[in-house]
């Protein structure tokens, strides 16, 4: 009897946990429903973007039902293949993604690219940033670039992703713009930004290459300084941080986050998604989510998104070829 009670208690709890983990179930009844496909596990950047956007859309009443599906694997390749496979039944699906889809399709981590999907819109963007310890001898990015030009091996860069991934590429891009050889960047790879930060503070590297919003959080703690960021103009969140452009290095980089529909998504449906996302920016619910996550708005709808992706693919592709990551 007792054991029965315990097992029932366990199952009830398990069911609760399951429901909470899986989010609300799949619902595809109304026209006004969005099903978010998240190519990574719970708690990651993609997960946060999709669930935050979904929260704003549903709480503001723009979308009636919102559901989520996590499907990780292959750096996002698993979810892309899945969306293509069930494209006909997935007209309500929005898959979240970001700059890595461009890098990973170039490096052939997965065979597909954004062209195999229907790009809907980029919604938020982040920039690259270069961070040094507070007591670092480098007080400007110019000094760092000069040191690199003199002897590339004297500058050690640390980042929170693999060699050939975003943090490494952004550093190589900046030093290339300074006239240096991008292939000679001494790069220490960590598997997460926080650990890379610990590496910087331990004194094993001179500079950390990371996302601007993450860098702001770290700088706020008072242990580090941001030397430069890769936006077109200064950010209102940190007006003291110069852009690479104004320091005399003609380069910029934006890590966008945005949404894709299934291949063959009808034009009308795509326009509907774009309209709903555009309306979202004016809602107070979105502002709450945006500020909570420290996101910077960067709306690039439809065809503008496609041409932006093409341009980014070209730039990053050229750099990766030069670095020897592509043949």
């Amino acid at each position: 009897m007792l054991s029965k009670m315990i097992s029932r208690r366990r199952s009830t709890l398990m069911a609760t946990a399951l429901v909470a983990c899986l989010g609300t179930g799949v619902a595809q009844a109304a026209v006004d429903s969005v099903h978010f496909l998240i190519p990574g596990g719970a708690g990651g950047g993609w997960d946060g973007t999709a669930r935050g956007t979904g929260e704003a859309l549903s709480k503001s009443g723009l979308v009636e039902t919102v559901s989520y599906e996590n499907l990780s694997g292959g750096g996002g390749g698993k979810a892309i293949a899945h969306l293509i496979e069930i494209a006909d039944q997935s007209h309500d699906t929005l898959m979240v993604n970001s700059t890595p889809i461009v890098i990973r399709s170039l490096s052939k981590m997965f065979p597909q690219s954004f062209r195999d999907l229907t790009p809907v819109a980029a919604t938020v963007g982040d920039f690259g940033a270069f961070v040094v310890k507070s007591d670092s001898p480098y007080t400007s990015f110019n000094q760092l670039a000069d040191a690199y030009l003199e002897n590339p091996r004297s500058v050690t860069v640390v980042g929170g992703s693999a060699r050939g991934s975003m943090d490494h590429l952004v550093a190589a891009m900046a030093f290339k713009a300074a006239g240096g050889d991008p292939r000679r960047v001494k790069y220490l790879a960590y598997d997460a930004g926080g650990k890379a930060m610990a590496g910087l503070l331990s004194g094993e590297a001179d500079v950390l290459s990371t996302g601007f919003s993450e860098a702001l959080v770290l700088a706020e703690a008072g242990e580090v300084r941001i030397l430069a960021m890769t936006g077109h103009e200064r950010s209102s969140a940190a007006p003291d941080v110069p852009t690479l452009k104004e320091l005399g290095y003609d380069t910029s980089f934006v890590n966008w986050r945005g949404f894709f529909g299934a291949p063959g998504l009808p034009q009308s449906k795509r326009d509907e998604f774009i309209a709903v996302l555009e309306k979202m920016y004016d809602t107070p619910e979105w502002k709450v989510v945006r500020d909570r996550n420290g996101w910077a708005e960067d709306f690039r709808p439809g065809d503008e998104f496609v041409s932006f992706l093409e341009q980014q693919e070209e730039e990053i592709g050229a750099l990766m070829r030069e670095l020897g990551f592509l043949k």
């Binding site: 909470a20 946060g48 990780s72 694997g73 960590y190 650990k195 094993e204 242990e223």
Partner: protein, 512 residues
């Protein structure tokens, strides 16, 4: 500082915050008990709830869930050999054999006492030394982590029984090999993925642990059942006594003490964490044990259970040092908590305990309370929890299978992981039938992956020279300790041989 502690105390003992600690510990314990669902899932589940609370209460709730989950994870490790989370994998090494010997009650009670002590000692060190410890956690560079993992690998001896040394070494190498599957971050290339997108991210530790422990154990039980018709019915006697004798307390007290301090220090390092701490503490304890006691490890040794249980709880507390004082998350769980703090508009860092003293101190004070609550909550529940073993096997076995598989699936949401679990289980069953030990493989896997990444970084820094091993005193010290630990049994055996040429020598040799 005393003002801060007083502020923290008043915040922490507010009835609502006390309630949060209790709720957090309770929820965490139950989620943690479910195989595969560990602290990350438990803390992530709490996030939507914490948005409605004020910062101190929210973080107190999450911290409670965190220790609760680490604590609850040990229960399923001990009772059904299915680790609740990564940091309690080692708990199963000696905890499950104890349960099989009808000492489940004692094992659970010892786990509760060890966790309590580990957590409390950790919280005391945190209280008095957090700012000072922050600089310690920052002094570790990649080369030092490499040396530390090298030291950890010497513990492989701890996982090999009599005449099993070669098998243990082979399994360690097997673990090291599995760790190389996936993307190599140092070169940016993928290895041993055979063109499959599913292998790009490598094999997850939890998946490997669940497959080689929980699933293998269940299938082996079913296979054994066919030969053994008369199944002894589990009754309350199976629980055994929960009391530890005076001798037993004397035996484990020093273990718990040193494992707590050691675990805390490892937990403070952003590149290590509770799982590594539990492995290292277990190895350390085995290395310190006398030749006779060494034999008991893996077969239900009290010290083998107390060491990882004290260490993982102390390490969980220790991981708050880099989080609170530097804003650096050392683990996935603390990364989620960092996100929650920032969402509150609180910036963890060197200024936290000046800017938000109520948050800083109340979290630390609530750690004591949390540990106490866990102990009070769990000791009386042990007889009921261990009744799980009394569930008839035709019901219990499918339940374990179900929870183990869903637990792993819920982390990745990738069905390929389930197929991989089945494949690894089949391989593990064959290896087990040939009497290969599984623990060294897990040790090789978890230490090997970290070791390789750190070696890659250290070599990049020095342009390919191994001079990093002796360039810094810290690295050199750790390396020398590793070499000493590796050679010590050999040396002591040689010295022992020279001294006494009696019957005892034969015993020592056999055990070496």
């Amino acid at each position: 500082m005393w003002d801060g502690i007083l502020t923290g105390l008043t915040t922490a003992v507010m009835p609502f915050n006390l309630l949060m600690v209790v709720v957090g510990c309770f929820a965490g314990t139950f989620i943690g008990m479910l195989p595969g669902l560990g602290p990350i899932s438990a803390v992530a589940l709490m996030i939507p709830i914490t948005y409605g609370l004020d910062p101190a209460s929210g973080i107190i709730l999450m911290a409670g869930v965190y220790y609760g989950a680490v604590f609850g994870g040990s229960t399923s490790s001990i009772l059904i050999n299915a680790p609740g989370c990564a940091s309690t994998v080692v708990t199963a090494f000696d905890g499950y054999p104890m349960a099989q010997q009808n000492k489940a009650g004692k094992a659970l009670a010892l786990a509760a006492y060890s966790s309590f002590t580990g957590g409390t000692i950790g919280a005391i060190i945190l209280l008095f030394a957090a700012p000072a410890l922050a600089s310690v956690s920052l002094s570790f560079q990649s080369g030092d982590y490499f040396a530390l993992m090298l030291l950890g690998l010497t513990a492989v001896a701890a996982f090999s029984g009599k005449g099993q040394v070669i098998k243990a070494l082979l399994m360690t190498v097997f673990g090291l090999m599995i760790a190389t599957v996936g993307t190599d971050i140092t070169s940016g290339t993928t290895r041993f993925t055979f063109g499959s997108v599913d292998l790009i991210d490598g094999v997850s530790f939890l998946l490997l642990a669940m497959a080689t422990f929980a699933l293998t154990e269940v299938v082996m039980t079913v296979m054994r059942g066919q030969h053994n018709e008369q199944e002894p019915e589990m009754d309350m006697a199976a629980l055994g006594s929960m009391k530890l004798s005076r001798e037993e307390v004397k035996e484990v007290a020093p273990t718990i003490g040193r494992s707590s301090v050691f675990g805390f220090i490892v937990g403070v390092l952003p590149g290590a964490g509770a799982t590594i701490a539990s492995f290292l503490a277990y190895g350390l304890e085995r290395n310190l044990a006398s030749a006779k006691e060494k034999l008991k490890f893996g077969k239900g040794a009290l010290r083998g259970l107390a060491a990882p249980e004290s260490a993982n709880n102390a390490a969980s507390t220790g991981s708050f040092v880099p989080l609170l004082t530097l804003g650096i998350p050392g683990s996935g769980t603390t990364a989620i908590m960092l996100g929650a703090l920032i969402a509150y508009g609180i910036q963890p860092g060197p200024r936290l305990f000046m800017d938000n003293p109520d948050v800083f101190w109340s979290v630390i004070i609530s750690m004591y309370i949390g540990n106490l609550v866990l102990l009070i909550l769990n000791l009386p529940l042990i007889p009921y929890i261990s009744r799980l073993l009394a569930i008839p096997r035709p019901i219990l076995i499918p339940l374990i299978l179900f929870f183990s598989i869903t637990g792993v699936y819920l982390v990745s949401f990738n069905t390929f992981d389930i197929q991989m679990m089945v494949l690894i289980t089949v391989i593990a069953i064959f290896l087990k039938l040939l009497e290969f030990p599984m623990a060294p493989m897990l040790l090789g896997f978890i230490l090997g992956g970290i070791m390789e990444k750190n070696l890659g970084r250290a070599l990049t820094m020095t342009d390919g020279s191994f001079s990093f091993l002796w360039d810094r005193p810290l690295t050199l010290t750790i390396t020398l300790i590793a070499v000493f630990v590796l050679l010590f049994p050999l040396l002591s055996a040689m010295i022992g041989k020279a001294r006494t040429r009696g019957a005892e020598v034969a015993v020592n040799e056999g055990e070496g």
